[in-house]
Symmetry: C2
Subunit: 760 residues, 2 copies
């Protein structure tokens, strides 16, 4: 065994030496160099699985339960695939259709069969991969563009290059695993007729797809790079890392989603790490797309780490790839579901396969955080590679600890200076406060919006996207037009809409130039978590400063949310301020009128999709609204004047295909106001059991909510509970640093403190 190890080490050295040389001679790839062939052969697998990893795995097999189980499942799956036989149909369908699904199944099957060949050393798996690859080779060399024409960048196997790239990312791994099983002739055939033209099609032949900073391109880059690493083709590797050489694209062209194709000329894998990730690891499109992009980021990074360690890819940009995994895991609720910021489909969670990769890679290539092991245990699955082995061993050795999610502030923007997202956690309550940049073409127009969760359930929801991903009956599984007319509009979110128009007029060109700005965040005191941010560009001439605090007061059963939205404007406007609650109306302290017929609230900017279910005049101090959802009680207390209106609305108007969910909202409408402040408390309280039929703590604990001061520099809110006890919260609207000293008199009483806020 020892002699084998040292042989591998020697070979690896040889390869590295050659690769450095090869960088200087781009047009020549190693596989053309006969003198190196033997060493090359010995070095496979090298991309994700490594030869040493295979050795270690084989030594541990049977004694690492989570790994053994994962292997068993995959073996059963692939044995069934082999039994069923190979099928490589002529491409024909969109997502969800037969040929699409079949080719997708094939890429997974090949990747897994390759791994099984290495771990189990059973030739039948290699043969299966080889035979399938040969069928693809036979088909691909004469294959025209995919017949479906909807994509801005059509693939050949699939309707879009994106899916072709998915295929190659997986198939590269399969090829690596059976590389040595194939004869040189077979390899030449595959590389010449399948892999190189395939890589070219998704890159040089589809620059509008490849040459961008975008999750699509990340897949493209990874695909080209990974096959390049396997074939040791420096042309492809460099094209992957740095984009297509000497190519300039029209900076004004847009893709299917309305995003710019290539605004600033940046491209390639490194640019795709550089641009979308903030130094904290926040991905600008949000967690749903980060999850999607994560796999190619990490799997190509693994390959680079293994084949080109000198790149130090996991240290790139101060280790942002591993940081991004931590950020992503923190962007999930108590059940592991990702917060549906921007275009996010609800229900996507860290149970997704990409997150198995993320968790295992993060554990293995990072600092072996024992909290990650608990997520791996929930996932009940590990990768069948070196990183999965590390996780399995960690679990076996009893190192697991809970993954403890705390409040976290994640900056946005390549340099972390374009706003961010704050997750405020306090016991079972989670607040997601978005004050980020536009979020690329998948961004929504919802500056300073929020959503609120109790123990993994939505209390105040973010709508997410208007799409049924991969459900063919709904627009082929693609974005529905309501994504633009509803889901992206400001009124679909829990923030201020001014004069019934969306932020930045819902124009990507404008929105993508701006971002909100952090005022402060403070998570030190575990009973009160606060974040505050400002937006000055969404409506020119209007400033919005929102301060959100999740407070656990000893007199309250659960934490409550205090929300202060301060609006400053040079002109008189109408402000709409919605609460997208869920569930059943229980009680209000205001009278409302229900119309006999339901009419839309407006005719554009999302308003055309809201029915008015009831209207009311607000009270002259506090308006209160209680509701019941999933057997828990909630109460909103909001400061109003009797000039304010309250509207009960429901989504679903002008929705002729029933594409939208019929979810409710209460909208606070303030007309003809310049400067104003919206102050609300949302309490979670009590519970109801349909089994015992008992209602516990079903009423609000708040007697009064009052703005006692609102100046340029400070806003002070007094909260009186039903026992008559009061608490005062003062937020610094300016000069809000941790170190700032404040001295303020309110109603003849003096308050002195240092820090961003005062609460007592």
């Amino acid at each position: 065994m020892n002699s084998y190890t040292s042989f591998i080490l020697k070979c690896t050295t040889a390869v590295f030496v050659f690769m450095i040389f090869s960088c200087k001679e781009e047009s020549k790839s190693i596989s053309d160099n006969n003198s190196e062939t033997t060493a090359q052969e010995q070095a496979h697998p090298k991309l994700i699985l490594t030869a040493q990893g295979v050795k270690d795995i084989r030594a541990q097999l049977g004694s690492i339960p989570i790994f053994d189980n994962s292997l068993e499942k995959i073996k059963a799956e692939i044995d069934a695939e082999i039994e069923a036989g190979i099928e490589v149909p002529i491409p024909k369908d969109y997502s969800g259709g037969y040929t699409h699904s079949r080719h997708k199944r094939n890429w997974f099957a090949m990747q897994k069969a390759g791994v099984l060949y290495q771990i189990l050393d059973d030739e039948k798996y290699a043969k299966y991969v080889k035979n399938m690859l040969m069928e693809y080779e036979a088909m691909y060399k004469t294959l025209p563009l995919h017949p479906k024409t909807r994509s801005y960048a059509r693939g050949k196997i699939f309707w879009q290059c994106l899916n072709d790239s998915n295929w190659l990312v997986y198939v590269s791994q399969a090829y690596d695993c059976i590389y040595n099983y194939l004869t040189e002739e077979e390899r030449n055939k595959l590389e010449t007729n399948l892999f190189r033209p395939f890589a070219d099609h998704i890159s040089v032949d589809s620059p509008q797809f490849y040459q961008r900073v975008h999750n699509h391109s990340t897949w493209g880059n990874a695909a080209v790079g990974m096959i390049g690493l396997v074939m040791n083709d420096e042309v492809l590797i460099n094209r992957a890392l740095y984009g297509i050489k000497d190519l300039k694209l029209d900076a004004n062209k847009k893709d299917d989603d309305g995003g710019f194709l290539n605004k600033d000329g940046k491209a390639g894998f490194l640019a795709n790490i550089e641009e979308p990730f903030s130094p904290d690891g926040y991905y600008n499109e949000g967690p749903y797309y980060q999850r999607y992009a994560m796999y190619p980021f990490l799997v190509f990074a693994e390959g680079l780490y293994n084949v080109k360690p000198e790149l130090k890819i996991f240290e790139y940009k101060e280790g942002v790839l591993l940081k991004s995994i931590n950020a992503l895991l923190n962007l999930s609720d108590a059940d592991g579901d990702f917060f549906p910021l921007n275009d996010g489909q609800k229900g996507m969670s860290y149970y997704n396969g990409a997150l198995v990769t993320a968790v295992d890679v993060s554990y293995h290539y990072g600092n072996q955080d024992p909290g990650l092991l608990s997520i791996a245990q929930q996932q009940d699955q590990v990768l069948l590679d070196d990183s999965g082995l590390a996780v399995a061993l960690g679990i076996k050795e009893g190192k697991t600890k809970p993954f403890d999610k705390k409040s976290i502030n994640l900056s946005d923007g390549p340099n972390g200076t374009q706003g961010g997202v704050g997750i405020l956690r306090n016991k079972n309550l989670e607040l997601v406060f978005k004050y980020a940049a536009q979020g690329s073409s998948h961004g929504h127009y919802d500056k300073l919006s929020y959503s609120l969760y109790e123990n993994g359930e939505e209390v105040i929801q973010d709508y997410g996207l208007a799409r049924f991903v991969n459900i063919e009956q709904k627009g082929g599984g693609n974005y529905l037009k309501e994504n633009k007319t509803w889901a992206k509009q400001t009124i679909a979110h829990n923030t201020v809409t001014q004069n019934e128009t969306s932020h930045f007029k819902a124009k990507y060109e404008i929105g993508s130039q701006h971002h909100s700005v952090l005022n402060y965040y403070s998570f030190e005191n575990e009973t009160i978590q606060v974040a505050s941010a400002k937006e000055t560009n969404a409506y020119p001439g209007t400033e919005m400063l929102r301060t959100m605090a999740v407070i656990k007061d000893e007199d309250f059963e659960k934490p409550y949310l205090l929300d202060i939205m301060k609006v400053t404007s040079a002109t008189a406007n109408q402000y709409d301020f919605p609460f997208y609650y869920f569930g059943q109306v229980l009680q209000t302290n205001f009278e409302y009128n229900s119309p006999e017929t339901l009419k839309p609230l407006g005719n554009k900017n999302g308003y055309q999709h809201l029915y008015i279910e009831a209207t009311a005049k607000a009270n002259n101090d506090n308006s209160k609204f209680s509701w019941l959802n999933t057997n828990k009680f909630y109460t909103l207390t909001t400061v109003t004047s009797n000039k304010d209106e309250l509207l009960f609305t429901r989504i679903g108007a002008n929705d002729p295909q029933f594409n939208l969910r019929k979810d409710p909202a209460l909208i606070l409408r303030r007309k003809n106001a310049k400067n104003t402040v919206f102050v609300s408390v949302i309490e979670a309280h009590g519970s109801y059991s349909p089994v015992t039929e008992s209602a516990v703590n079903s009423k609000s604990n708040i007697a009064a909510l009052k703005v006692v001061l609102d100046t340029v520099d400070y806003t002070a809110i007094e909260i009186t509970n039903i026992k008559g006890d009061t608490k005062l919260f003062i937020t610094a609207n300016t000069n809000a640093s941790k170190e700032a000293k404040h001295d303020l008199t309110i109603n003849n009483k003096n308050y002195e403190w240092s820090g961003s806020y005062y609460f007592k």
Copy 2:
């Protein structure tokens, strides 16, 4: 120990001898007879816990986990109550209010403390019960009627006699447990000032409550009877069993719910067993109210079994009490939730405490069905008495088997001749087909209606009641007016509404005189479960015959529902036929138009509560509709002509307090038709995962559904799947017995079979 046992046995004998004697001398109760006092004292507890049971429990403690855990929980609860101190406030509030909740808590606390005293032999529990009883005694003797006036029978501790009766049912048990702990003087004080006047108030002083066949009266009877058993008061015991002697009530008076107070003069506990239970154990109001009534039925029966074994209460009416428990358990879905027939609140389940009693009693006093042990394990709780001990021992000894729910037909009516309810189970699909009698004052006007479940989730829902039980903010937790205007109306249910009027004009006086009639049911073939029933009175001049089959065809992934509703009428009518689906519209094969504003479908009989969301002309053969709910796909295929209309509706119009859920329906409307047949198939198929984003088997497997014959005697339906294979289902509309022989020619092909239906 042996000498103690024999002493008890002797005493018991003495008591029985005396009791037989005492029956002849009704006005004299045993406790007045000094010579018997010692024996009486020794006999306690005797009601639910018995002296022998206490001995057995003490012997097993610590070795019967489920019992030990139940004891531990209750001990912790009562220790905390004792710590918190006794509070017996002056009655003031409705349900959900403070004094109501406190007195309710007290009754539970006393009952549990009494049990703890017996099992743990710790005087502190007896003292706690005694002290609390003395506070009630002090208050009760001068207590006026409860100040709230809404009930037809006001209580003293609570706003209605019903809750006073609840109190006494529990407190009788507590009194029994500490009987021997009290001095004779203390007992006399309690009996004279509290228990006797209390029993009189809920019986002789409230005959409109007590003297009925109704779940309210059952509680009243049990309360009076149980305190009678403890005090050995034959007057009370007889009043409990047979009602108030020589009392006649006005047969036309009604209660708060619109039920007749006492139509036929029947009263007392035995009449309450006789009338509402069918021989199969179906309770005429449905499972939700059966669950509520169950506790007094069973706990009083236990007391009677223990104290008056000669009554053979568990054998009464061929053992209907134990049969009813089996029926009730079968009236629950895969999660144990009861089907919300009539006024049923969703979410009520066999996890309710009354069902712990039911399961334990059924096991102990019945045939020790090992399936009951698995439900007890799910409940994770047993009674702290002889029956709970039996269950705990059964579990400990490994006797547990799954409680296997199969298709079951439950007849309705005292003699089982008033229609019934069929539960058709086929793999994960459950169909609830209701062809019962009115169901007393809690009945809905929904002859031949159904609901459909997949693995415990509603596919086609029954709305249930319009009430938020014990949620004070919603009408004090009582029935909402929408219960009458919506939930009880026919259009709220999955059956035929003729000419926009409800069955029996929604009049209880008419509805309570009629019931549907079974045509046949057939559960022998496990792949096809069928039930068929007829209704001739809901609309005079119109007959409805509905045949429902849940079929597992090998070419289909899951079972499907075939529904044949044959309507025969002398006159031309409009028929509305709704499908109360849940979830998101995916696809239809017909074009529909969505109005810009939503208007109610009608102005009365429930139609005023439905908004029209879209309208369509049906297709000339099959109209198809697919939807997605909780990540599963469903498709309706229904036989239509192009004269039919299809309406997408949503509940919630004319609902000014948001009392209704905004649930959707598709309504098939057939105008100007005399005889017609509605034929539909509902397929459950496939699934969607938001984690993998893959849609599996998302499309219908049915190519065509066709009525090939429809005569007085037969209806024949041909089902063609997408592979082109056909199946034929023929149902016998007449002469449908198991033994009947049929010979029929359809399209020149001959079909011969014996039995109710043909399927091939």
